[in-house]
Structure formats: C-alpha cells, structure tokens
Amino acid sequence: MSTLSFPILTVAIFLPLLGAAVVVLLPQGRASLVRPVGLAFAVAELAVAGTIVAEFKAHDAGFQFVSQHAWLGQFGIGWKVGVDGISLFLVAMTAVLFPVAMYGPKLVGDAKSFMGWMLLLEAALIGTFLAMDLFLFFVLFEVTLVPGYFLIAGWGGFRRNYAAMKFFIYTFAGSAFLFVGILALVFLVAPLNGGRETFDLITLARYASHLPTSDQELIFAAMAVAFAVKMPVVPFHTWMPDAYTEAPTAGSMILAGLLFKLGTYGILRFGVYLLPKAAIDLAPVLLTLGAVGIVYGCIVAAVQKDLKRLVAYGSVADVGFIVLGVFAFTSQGISGSVFEMVNHGLTTGALFFLVGMLLDRRGTLRISELGGIQKSAPILAGVFIVVVMAAVGLPGLNGFVGEFLVLVGTFITHRWWAVVGTSGVILSAVYLLWAYQRVFQGRATGANEHVIDMTWREKAAIAPLIVGIVFLGVYPKPLLDRVTPAVSNLVAHVQYADPGFHIPSKGVGTVYAVPADQNVNGGQQTPTGVQTAAVTPGTGGTP
C-alpha cells in the first residue's frame, strides 16, 4: 500500500532519537551548537512528517506505510508501525509543535540535556502514535514519562519536584492496569488464535470480540483507567494542573498539547477498536465523566488565581469534549474528537506559549497582579485574543469545527449528554474572556505599563500555530477527508461487534455519514452480508 520504497515511519521514529544522541554527544566546548543542531533535527522530522502527510492516500481507511519486523520472538512481539487517518494528524501536529517549543520559549539552564530530552520525547511520542503492536505501544507510552519527568523536574517552576514526581507516579500507576489489561487480552485471545500469542493490533481486534463479554468489559475497564489518568478525565486529573503549571513553557506546550493525547488516542485506537462491545457497554460511564469534566473544568478554571493554572484546568474541559465525541460512536462524533485533539494541540500549545511569554516578562502569573497589558504589548494581546477565540469556538477558527462535530455527533445518540456538553461552549467563553479582560484590558499599573511586546523570534515561532488555527477553521476539508474514512471504518467495526447498537438518525450530518456497505473487520462479511473489496486495517499489511 505504501508508495514509498523505504520505511518512512521507522525513520520518523528514529530520526529524533538520532538527534538526541547527536546533541548529547556534542563536545562540551561547542555549547552554541546545541540549539541549532537540536532544532535542525526537529525541522528534519517536520519534513519527514510532511512527506507522510503528502504521500498519505486520502480516501483510504486502512493503515498505510505499514512496516513490520520481528522483535522479541517470545510472545509474538513485533516492531509494527503504520499510520491511518486517526493518527496521521497527531503525528503531523507532534512534528509541528516540537520545533516551535524548542525554538520559541526562552530557555534557561542546561540547553544540552533539555534538547536531548525533548528529542527523546518526540521520538517516543511519534512512535506511540504509530505503533500497531500493543507491546510497542505500551513500551513507548511508558518511555514518554521519563523525558516528561526530567523536563518538569529539571526546568520547572518552584514546586517542580513535587509536580514531576506526582506526574510520574500517577501515570505509572495507571499504566499498571493497562499493562495487565493488555497481557490479559493477549493471553485470552491466544487460544482463539491457534495458541499463538500476539500483540498485533489487527489480529487481536479480529478475535477480541469473541471473548466473553465480562472479560471484554474488565479488560476495557483496566485500559480505561490508564488512559483516563493520562487524559486526564475528572476524578483522575489532580496530577495535571500541577504538572502543567510547574513545567517550563516548552514542557507545558508538549505536555498539554501532545502527551495527554496519548490518553484519548489510546482509548480510541486500543480501547474502542479492540473491545467495541465493552466500549458500548461502558460508554455511559465515560460519557458522564466527559460531560462532568467539561462543566467542572470550566468552572474550576474560572476561579483560578494563576493564569497558567487557568489554562491547565481549561484542558480538563477540552478533554471532556474529546471523550464525549469518542463515546458517542458516531462518525461525526469521532471525527470531531480527532479534530479536537489536533485543535487542542494547536490552541493549548499556543496558549501555554503566550502565558510563558507573560511569565518571562512579568515574573508572575497571578491574574490580580496583571492588567492592561494590551497597551504596551498590542501584538501579544492580539495574538492572545485570536487563540482565545479559537479555544472558545468562534466560527471561522478551528475550535468551532471540532466542537460542532462533537456536539452534533453526540446529539444523535446521546442527546442529554450533548446538552450538558454544550454548556461548556458558553462556560469556556466565560473563563477565557474574563481572564483576557483582567489580564490585557483595564488600566495598566506598575510593571504592567512597560511590558515588552513579542520579539521576532517569538512571532516566528508562534506563526505556524496561528496559521494552523485559521486554516483549519476556514478549510477543514483536507483534514476531514483523511480522518473520516478511518473513522467510518471504526464506527462500522463498532456496529458490527454489537448489531444491537444502532445509530438512530443517519440522515443528520450526511456529509460524514457512515457508508452503508462499509466493509469491516478484515474482510469478514458485514452483518448485511455485503462483501466488498477490503480496504480495511485487516489488509493494510506490508506492501
């Protein structure tokens, strides 16, 4: 299926790793080379990601550029990577956000290890999004914690040790359940697969739905705990405001923009795809957590005294939207969720960047000590309001498209949850605009009178994010064209697993409706008996 003759996805994973090694091995005397070299690798990675997006076949629902190698023979663990519509833009966004985070924010402290950890994190993140082997996924999922930990602990704020430790332990403990869940799935599926253990996503998906429902539900619940901690949805979120607030600006951008996507991506790719029946059964729980998260996140954000914490709590609300969309199990809802993941990476990345600029200039982020900054720093204020509007969901900017799709998708199947979720649109406007008003408007006093405006470096760094925000808001079609086939495929897969589950009105939002004869499940027959040429994950194998 791949049109490229070399394994571009493997290259995409190893290139930043190579960069990290090169940066760390640079001689002590060449300190000035560290940043340019690190950045060069991040930009090269961006080029690789660009190639992947360009070569990606738009209307293909399956995995592309799949490359597969045996790794640890024992349990059928393989190195298998592939990209489909759901992961494509997460990879692209990772590649965009890293150079921005490495170039933009002011860097204090040891540049060498900072660049090293950042590139290591980039490699692990890209790998996690591309993994098609559950072992590989878990391993990379865990590895992201180490650079994350050291980025917070090494370059963070005042309570960095506490925040870093909390971040690591919470997610590590959550992964315990994921780990056991994955192993249980593998060993329970093995007898169905002729006694061979495998961690291959496609093979597992083929057999997992034949497991007893109670087993499926337990495994799904175990996975959901891990991903819920990572996302984080409400009762598991307490590590998150600390981690995001204490992390250095670049760290917050990456943590909030990308790292937490692992949770939402994981539940979509592994939870819903592998165990659709259990996902449907447990959907009400997660939908409720999502809806509660939206309202809770907005309200708590509104009363924060610290601007960075405010943005952090805003993320809880955004996660709520994504969860709502995923567990609506409609094509629109899931497409909207994927869109929201990309959006959130752009807007939250930009917001943390802007907040970091304020912190550099004013030395504090207490909202009560800020005010009237738009007079002395008009460009900063202008960019800030654009990003805020995107986060609020103003039509014409990217946030609107994602939230609209999510709410439409949810409304079709779960009306009342959608109603609660919609209140988040209003509430997010409340806390963000109110914050903007208090920080940028009004009369400037004291140090607020002389805030330096954005420098050229900062403008250049944030430009790609702003372009993305506007472009996706005005013309989301290129993204949706690539996301929707994969999503439709997933929805059909869910429906196939549980024929009782029915989407009430396929008419709504016809543009993204599920194709009726969508083939599912690796060439097996659909419930209606229609058999078509399989363009599915099942046959998206090695070229």
Binding site: Q74, R159, M165, I169, A173, A176
Partner: protein, 572 residues
C-alpha cells in the same frame, strides 16, 4: 515437571540395597544408595565450575602462604577474576554438554546436572567476577587488602553453586551452610567499622536460626515422604494420598521460611537492611546477587520439583509472601535515607517479582524469574559499584546526600547510575522492564490478575525512590530544595520522614565540616552538602560499569538472554 518424572528412580528401586541402610523396597533414598554402593561414580564434569572455584580458593591460600606479604597488590583480585572467568567458561561448556546429552543426576544422585543449575553456575561465576573487580579498589582504599576476602568470596560462590545444583535437601543444606558462613565473615570484614562487626553478628545469629528452621523443615519433609531427594518426593507425593498431611505441610512451610530468609522475603527480611548497610559495599552487591540467586534456586528446586504436586497448598502462601515482599519493600525504601539501606529494601521489593514468577508455577514463570535474577545481577553490581565510588573513604557518606550533584561532577557516572535506577524502576528499553514484563505475563497467563496489578503498582511506588535518587544526582549542590515550607518538598521525599527507621545522625554533624543542617531540625539529607573533590573511577570499576550498563540495555531490547533463560527451564 513431566520431563522430571521420566528421570526418577523408578528403575533404580528395583535393585535392592546390599547392606547397611534399613530400607523398605520402593523407598530407597538416594543418600542411602550412595552409602550402600562402595563405589560412587563421580562425574567431575557435572560440577566443573564448582571445582574450579573451590580449587581456586585453595590455590589462592597456598599462593598467599608462599609469597611474601603484600608482594603484589593486584595479584589476588586478578587471580580471582581469572578463576571466576574459568568457572564461567566451564559453565558455558556445561551448557553445551547438557544440550548434547540429556539432563541427568550425578554423584550418587546428589547433583542435578541440568540447564537450570548450569544457568545459576554461570550467573554466580559472573557475579563473583564482578565482586572481585569491585572489591579490588575498595579494599585498597580501605586498607583491607588481603587474600581472605577473595577466598571467602570464592567459597561462598561454591556454596551457592552447590545449592543451585542440589538434588535433595541434604545437598541444599550443605550448600546453604558453605555459602552462609562465608557471607557472615564477609559482612563483618571491615575491621574498623563498628557497624560491620555488628551486622556480621546479626547476620550470623539470624542466619543460623534460619538454617535450623530449614533443617527442621527438611526433617519433617523426610518424615512425611521418606526421602530427601526432590524427584523422589515428587514421585511419592504424586502416587500417594496422605491421610494426614500435617507433617508434610509443616515441613514445606519451614522449608519456605528457611529459604525465604535467604532471599529476604517479607516477613523474613529484617536482617537484610542491617546487613546490607554493614557489609563492605562491593560485598553487599555480591551478596545481593549471589545469596538471592542461590536462595531462589533452592526455593524453585524445593517447591517446583519436590512439592510440585502440592501446588495448591504452597501457591497461596507464596502469593501472600510475594504481595508482602513487594509492598513492604517498596514502601519502606521510601523512608530510607541511607543509600545502602534503601538498596536493601529495593532488593527486597525486587525479590517480590521473582516470587511472582515462582507463584505462577509454570515454565513461563520460571523463565521470567531466571531472566529476572540474571539481569538483576548486572544491575545490582553496577549500582553498588557507583555507591562504592561516591561513599568516599571509610564509607563516610552513605546517605542520599552523597550522590547529590553527581551529574555535575561525573556526568558519565551519573548517566550510568541513572540507567541502573531506571532499570530497577522497570522503565522500558532496560532489562528491568522486560524482566518485570515476563514475570507479570506469567502471572496473567495463570489468571493471577490481582497479583499482577499489585506487582505493577508496587513498581509505581518503587519508582518514587529510584527517581528521587536520580533527581538528587541532577540537582545542583547549592540549591536547597527543602526551603519551601509547603507540602511540596515533603512529598518529593527530600525531607526525612520521622517515625520510620531511627535516623542515623552522620557523625560529621558535630565536626567543623558540619553543614548547617539544623535549619529545619533533624539533619535533613538534602541539606547535607555533597562530598567535595573528584570521584575517581578505578579501571576495574569502570570495566564493571561498562559491562553492566551494556548488558542492561542489551537484555532490554533483544531476546537472546530470555531465550537463554527459557532453555534453562526445560528440565521442569
């Protein structure tokens, strides 16, 4: 186990013993038979590594008697390295030899000659090699140079090998004693440290006590089954239904206690922190690898061979011991402010994972446990090598503060230490992760979900103190992390936690070099300044570190080591 059954003495019971031992037909013990036949064939190749080590120990003694005292400082460690290298070579030869022929019993049926025992011979040889390499610079620094340390080490390894190869409780006990007595002396080896003598005495008293318990258990097991041989026990128990199995269960329980003491499983672990702290650092690392491995070899032999059919009885007991070991080890390690004590609790917690493998009672679990022990040997040797370097002369600084700022003083050393810490925490792409993966997988495969989840959560708890050490290495010496009055620092663990483990006030807090530790009362570790001066890395330690680090990564990303461990379970 099926394979084992085919090797049993069924055929041999037919030959009635000539004279001497009182036996009833069908209940011939291997030991009796050995006594009865005047000519016991000794298959030397089956105990080759063991012979190399014990003869090597004698050679060392003779050389030291002939040569003038302190003639060549590096001679004894060099010889020890050569001897253990030869033993490792001999184990490799054995590995191939067992592969070509079937696994057998040898020397009056007292020795199992199978890949399980050969794996341990190799492991112990390698651990001895590291022990000798690390001891050299340490003993020279402490002015303890002499042949005795190396002789004791070789003898301890001999005992450990005997334990791994034992085919019955008698041989197991012999090995246990040979190893333990050498280890007691090694613990007390540092003449000028009062703690060292104290720890040695403690170890000796508690150790003898546990040996007695083990022996009592062996006697009860003999009473219940009429044999001391594991394979005969297994056959007997498979064939016979005991109307009253009280004696059997009692014997089994006491055997578990006796061996549980050697591997420092909770609740038989109380000696371990004291002894780890007391023993000279390279010996601590050696002990953590060898004594644990040998103890586990014994446990596997007893439970998986002798009492295989009693699985339903011992698995719940091991379940409980494993859970306690995992949780107590990792929680109490957090409260430690002495590096060596912390590592003692850490190694208790690590033993919990091997117990998970044992609890699975499957060849997968055994393979996982063997892999765990194998990789842990390298990790622990490396960790104690670094601790030995940073503690300074006379083990002046064993507190966590000693490692503070190492990242700035010796970046390479700190990086290697970080690797070992992450490996112990179970971070992917290190051998520690795969080791945990395999034992947890074995548990899940047997449906032990609760145990698997507890094991992983214990890893999350343990990650806390491993990372804290990692963090200390990279925090700058000047910055005082505990300034902040809020909960932050306390949770980050940089503040001592009162109530646990009486703090050992460093002696220097009275001297002129005392750092103003009193600002918050109780001599917080984080307030102690890091040691001054450059940490010198002797060549021998550098080699050890490089090998250990390379192995930790190699075993973490590829499967040959696991295949190796997996082949060692074929006898089961």
């Amino acid at each position: 186990m099926i394979g084992l059954l085919s090797h049993t003495l069924v055929g041999q019971t037919v030959q009635a013993p000539a004279t001497g031992c009182q036996v009833t037909p069908g209940k011939v013990t291997g030991l009796c038979q050995a006594f009865n036949s005047l000519h016991i064939p000794v298959e030397y190749r089956t105990i080759l590594p063991l012979l190399v080590l014990s003869i090597g120990a004698l050679v060392l003694l003779v050389i030291s008697a002939v040569l003038p005292k302190r003639s060549r400082p590096g001679l004894y460690p060099l010889l020890t390295v050569i001897i253990s290298g030869l033993a490792a070579g001999a184990s490799v030869f054995q590995w191939i030899d067992v592969g070509n022929h079937a696994a057998t019993k040898a020397i009056g049926n007292q020795i199992f000659y199978d890949r399980f025992s050969v794996l341990f011979m190799l492991l112990i040889s390698v651990a001895t090699l590291f022990g000798a390499l690390l001891s050299d610079s340490y003993l020279q620094r402490e002015g303890l140079d002499g042949v005795e340390a190396y002789v004791l080490m070789l003898l301890a390894s001999t005992g450990a090998m005997l334990m791994a190869a034992s085919a019955g409780t008698i041989m197991l006990f012999l090995g246990l004693e040979i190893m333990s007595i050498a280890l007691y002396v090694m613990t007390a080896y540092h003449r000028r440290r009062a703690a060292s003598g104290e720890g040695g005495l403690k170890y000796f008293i508690l150790g003898s006590f546990s040996s007695a318990i083990f022996l009592y258990g062996a006697a009860l097991a003999y009473g219940a089954t009429g044999t001391t041989q594991f394979d005969e026990m297994s056959v007997f128990l498979a064939r016979t239904t005991l109307p009253n199995d009280g004696i059997l269960l009692g014997g089994m329980a006491l055997l578990i206690v006796g061996l549980g003491f050697k591997v420092a499983a909770v609740p038989f672990h109380f000696w371990s922190p004291d002894v780890y702290e007391a023993a000279p650092t390279p010996f601590t690392g050696y002990m953590a690898a060898v004594a644990k491995a040998a103890g586990f070899a014994g446990l596997f032999r007893v439970l998986l061979e002798g009492f295989h059919s009693q699985e339903a009885n011992w698995r719940p007991a091991i379940w409980l011991i494993a859970v306690l070991t995992l949780l107590v080890g990792s929680v109490l390690a957090i409260a430690q402010r002495d590096l060596k004590r912390m590592m003692a609790y850490s190694s208790i917690s690590q033993a919990g994972y091997v117990l998970i493998g044992l609890q699975s009672a499957s060849s997968q679990g055994t393979a996982g446990a063997l892999f765990y022990l194998l990789t842990y040997t390298f990790i622990i040797a490396g960790t104690f090598a670094v601790i030995g370097l940073v503690q300074g002369e006379g083990e002046a600084r064993n507190d966590l503060g000693a490692i503070r700022g190492l990242g700035r003083r010796r970046p390479g050393l700190a990086l290697v230490m970080l690797l070992f810490l992450l490996a112990q925490a179970g971070v992917p792409f290190t051998s520690g992760f795969l080791a945990k993966f395999y034992v947890i997988a074995a548990a899940v495969n047997r449906g032990q979900y609760a145990l698997a989840i507890i094991g992983m959560l214990a890893a999350a708890i343990a990650a806390f103190f491993y990372l804290r050490v990692g963090l200390l290495m990279y925090s700058s010496p000047e910055v005082d992390e505990t300034k902040e009055p809020t909960d932050g620092a306390a949770l980050a663990g940089l503040r001592p936690i009162p109530g646990f483990d009486t703090p050992r006030e460093p002696a220097l807090s009275q001297g002129p070099g005392a750092v103003a530790a009193s600002s918050d009362g109780d001599g917080a570790v984080a307030l102690l300044a890091p040691p001054e001066g450059r940490v010198e890395i002797p060549f021998t330690v550098g080699i050890t570190l490089a090998v250990c680090a390379a192995f930790t990564i190699f075993a973490g990303v590829s499967s040959p080591v696991l295949d190796f461990a997996k082949h060692a379970t074929t006898y089961f």
